[in-house]
Symmetry: C2
Subunit: 249 residues, 2 copies
């Protein structure tokens, strides 16, 4: 089944056609069962939902859906990584989020009327997603209102996270935005140092943080030169987050 087709070779220019197949084995199911949105659903109901879903393999840079397309499905990432982005009228591609295995996305549209995707979604590398029919999930909730609470919690958390993302973007200078972004990536926040893996290629982190790739690169070089950071490909080591916070003022 072809879901989407376009030409091109770079970010924002998706390539291929999706091919799905039944999701009838257990791969990736464990992660799904432990997701906040599903962990309270009885096995029988969950299996039923899964059987109405399809597993989709996505190639590198492959588009999953387009902004404004009717949203008949939402997704759970089994493996790989995706990004959400929007295209403005001048064709500039602005990255808004990245999605890791174990995450759900596009689920915010479930009750919208008409349900439409709010952005583009594409695979950053070859990935596998579970494609859950919105209707099947809605029916499940209608038949079992007690499941709605988990969904409510999930949506509320999502809204708070978006609010937090928005806050970072009101920081006026590029270096401080980047520092805040990095600290949020640390497993324990500013509490303690650690290694951080950028969830996106550097040029897309730059886009996410409303700066040019050159600016991103220079800021990172500067932090490195000042001993605040060690960089290894897309892995950054932050030994003292507090020092980072101090200089960001």
């Amino acid at each position: 089944m072809g879901l989407m087709q376009t030409t091109g070779t770079r970010y924002s220019k998706p390539i291929l056609v999706a091919v799905n197949k039944p999701f009838d084995d257990e791969d990736g199911l464990q992660a799904l069962r432990s997701h906040p949105l599903f962990r309270n659903i009885r096995s029988r109901d969950l299996e039923d939902l899964i059987h109405q879903s399809r597993r989709l393999r996505l190639g590198h840079h492959q588009l999953l859906y387009r902004q404004d397309m009717p949203a008949h499905h939402f997704f759970f990432v089994i493996s790989g990584r995706l990004r959400l982005y929007r295209l403005d009228s001048s064709g500039i591609d602005r990255t808004l989020d990245s999605i890791a295995p174990g995450d759900c996305f596009a689920e915010v549209m479930i009750y919208a009327d008409p349900p439409r995707y709010a952005c583009y979604a594409e695979a950053l590398k070859s990935s596998e997603v579970l494609m859950i029919p919105v209707k099947a999930y809605r029916d499940l909730l209608d038949r079992n209102p007690e499941y709605a609470q988990a969904a409510l919690e999930h949506y509320a958390r999502r809204a708070v996270n978006r609010f937090h993302d928005l806050e970072i973007m009101t920081v006026q200078n590029a270096r401080d935005r980047l520092i805040r972004y990095l600290i949020d990536l640390l497993p324990n926040g500013a509490e303690e140092g650690g290694e951080v893996e950028l969830p996106l290629p550097k040029c897309l982190v730059a886009s996410r943080l409303a700066m040019q790739p050159e600016t991103f690169s220079r800021i990172l070089a500067d932090l490195k030169a000042n001993g605040l950071l060690r960089v290894n490909r897309s892995k950054l080591f932050i030994s003292d987050p507090q020092r980072l916070i101090q200089i960001s003022q």
Copy 2:
């Protein structure tokens, strides 16, 4: 009952102490009944919820709650206007949202554990809010799972709106961010022109859009000089939104 107390005279420096009184008349109730979060709730249940709530009068610049405070209530705006903001470690105040009469806010925390406010909330002018106990609302949902769907819709919409706000902030230049912000304020978006009232004083719109008040003022002056905008206090008249969009590229 004192809810909060601080000293100072400007934005981010709240002043007074809240005094509440029972919400036992019908003022503002119509708007509440038609809010998406409440309109499906049976009269009896809604009245019960309202009787467990308190009406709160807030003075100009009065603080309603603080970031990180335990969130025992969420709020519905009866009259006036509020803003949500965060304070960073260096004391800089960053405005994230404004709330108009008929809106609900802080409701995103309902199922958080522990529930805490994600930001500060203060009145921009003298205002009246309904202060709804989180526990009462949760109990209502627990007893009547069929009410959860409206809540789900509301939260989903909220998450999508925050996502959209985030998108605007990834626009890299100040003028285009402002243009996008103004077009979103238009009743019919870019479809047709109209008058727009800024929901915040100009210096706070600037803060919301990650720019200095001086920059905001200069951009507005420039748009005005180019005949793209007419300015009257906090009211802006945009005759041709399409032209605005064209120049923002």
